[in-house]
């Protein structure tokens, strides 16, 4: 560091979504705070700041971590990815398209964290089973969706990443077909 930095303050160069930015912030601030408050990347949300809800999940070196429990200074030298970095240009990531189309984002507040955890999972295993997806996302709470549309969306995105053009079953959007005896009645 060339210029004197006041005590309790850190200056760090963070690589977020492939872009380097040098920022000064209180040393005790977490990556969550620095992303939102210094870098203006408010896509990363928070729900408890104690590591209990998964809302603030971001990727560090490709692995999902809770940004509320990582000091920003400790992220220096690592690749940080947030929801803002998911799309390529104006093109949505298959996860983003699937979440938007299926309504897997209702209020949308847990969505960034779940998208990032899903991205890490699919990067490792795009053909992840429903059970594997549920386990991988089990640290991310959602209060709106009942998780069904999220599971369907991650599966759909996984298929897309595998090169398959296979949208979810009609049942996902229209509900189950009525049993025959009910239709007759």
């Amino acid at each position: 560091m060339s210029s004197p930095v006041p005590p309790g303050t850190s200056v760090a160069t963070l690589r977020v979504n492939g872009e380097e930015r040098t920022v000064a912030f209180p040393t005790h601030h977490t990556l969550l705070e620095v992303l939102r408050e210094e870098l203006g990347l408010t896509g990363t949300k928070h729900g408890c700041e104690l590591g209990e809800c998964g809302t603030c999940t971001v990727l560090v070196d490709g692995k999902p971590v809770l940004s509320c429990l990582v000091l920003a200074v400790e992220a220096e030298g690592h690749a940080v990815e947030t929801v803002e970095g998911l799309q390529q240009g104006n093109q949505l990531h298959p996860l983003q398209s699937a979440f938007a189309d299926l309504g897997a984002a209702q209020c949308g507040y847990c969505t960034p964290g779940i998208l990032m955890a899903s991205k890490a999972l699919l990067a490792e295993n795009p053909a992840a089973s429903r059970e594997q997806i549920a386990v991988a996302l089990s640290g991310n709470l959602c209060r709106c969706t009942g998780y069904q549309k999220i599971l369907e969306a991650v599966e759909w995105a996984g298929r897309t990443l595998c090169g398959e053009n296979a949208p979810p079953a009609r049942e996902c959007s229209f509900g189950a077909p009525l049993p025959e005896e009910v239709q007759r009645g």
Binding site: T27, L50, A136
Partner: protein, 339 residues
């Protein structure tokens, strides 16, 4: 937003430097490994620190190594994900992987470390609360108060050991290396703990837990079950870790059974272990051991669920662990855990 208080933050590059930093003022300095325990505790202000020493850059503390004698040396800073994913370790000690994968949630396992989990502060629903909440009941004994709110008439603190790796590693006969500026020692893991919610570790404040040694499985078989409300995120309200070695006649040569989350330390089921010693490892002896295991536990009302029910659950969960080791069919509804 919950925010951390300010502190001086140190990131030593090697163990000696870390030990030196810690030795300077061990009472007001805290080590941070994965941060999943310390940061929430500092945010809630029930722990304080003037200095925090991160072990993240101490390279020698990372990684799992298989040694010539078949045992494993696991660096304290190895993340829980890395411990669970280590193939040789998982092949040798599948129950350990299972215990580690039962900790909190998969995302948290990417951050939390094995050393951190072994040193996890004891927990209590009267203690793991925000500053304002604790002011409204009056600080408890574990903090600066006089009373243990769990058992107000009791002279001690009843916060519980909620580590999942601890009972399993105790059952596996693990030992740990403790390093300080003044030297180092290696002790059995069971000797690291004591049944006191406040002084739950025998580790001195200036010591750093650096490595965990796990002996080879050889002819031992292990299992781990954990009870908690949800299949992820939650701490346990009961865990049972068992390791059994049999001789050629299916007689129990050695039995290790430890309970987690029912006392301030990983609780040995002494009578149950003794009852199995030298016996045929069959349903009859398993049932008897499970009944005796319950005697080791006297959970109190400082976690989720009712303590009476948690106590009652020791029996079926111990039975499930022993049946799993014996290869007997399960009669219990297995929890839908993230493992």
């Amino acid at each position: 937003m919950m925010r951390l208080p300010s502190f001086r933050f140190h990131r030593p590059q090697n163990l000696a430097e870390a030990a030196r930093l810690l030795a300077a003022s061990p009472q007001t300095t805290r080590l941070v490994a994965g941060g999943t325990d310390l940061w929430p505790n500092l945010k809630r202000r029930h722990q304080q620190a003037e200095d925090v020493v991160s072990l993240a850059l101490v390279r020698e503390l990372h990684g799992v190594e298989r040694r010539a004698d078949g045992s494993f040396a696991i660096g304290a800073m190895t993340t829980l994900s890395a411990v669970a994913a280590d193939r040789p370790l998982a092949a040798e000690h599948p129950a350990l992987s299972r215990a580690v994968r039962s900790i909190s949630s998969p995302v948290l396992q990417n951050m939390g470390t094995l050393g951190g989990n072994l040193c996890l502060d004891t927990r209590c629903t009267y203690y793991n609360q925000n500053e304002e909440w604790r002011r409204s009941i009056g600080y408890c004994k574990k903090e600066v108060g006089e009373t243990c709110w769990v058992a107000p008439g009791s002279p001690r603190c009843w916060a519980i050991s909620a580590s999942d790796s601890a009972p399993m590693l105790c059952a596996l006969g693990a030992s740990v290396r403790l390093v300080s500026a003044s030297g180092e020692r290696t002790i059995p893991l069971t000797a690291l703990y004591q049944d006191d919610g406040i002084a739950y570790l025998t580790k001195r404040p200036d010591e750093i837990l650096t490595q965990v040694f796990v002996p080879a499985a050889a002819d031992r078989h292990s299992a781990f079950w954990k009870l908690r409300r949800r299949g992820s995120i939650d701490f346990g309200v009961l865990s049972v870790a068992g390791t059994i070695a049999l001789d050629a006649q299916r007689r129990v040569r050695s039995a290790q059974l430890f309970l987690g989350c029912v006392a301030s330390f990983p609780t040995p089921c002494t009578e149950a272990m003794e009852s199995l010693q030298g016996q045929i490892f069959d349903e009859e002896h398993i049932t008897r051991a499970a009944v005796l295991a319950r005697k080791a536990a006297s959970p109190l009302s400082n976690t989720d669920f009712l303590p009476q029910w948690r106590s009652k659950m020791v029996e079926p969960y111990t039975e499930a662990v022993l049946r799993e080791i014996a290869g007997l069919p399960q009669q219990r509804l297995a929890p839908a855990h993230a493992f």
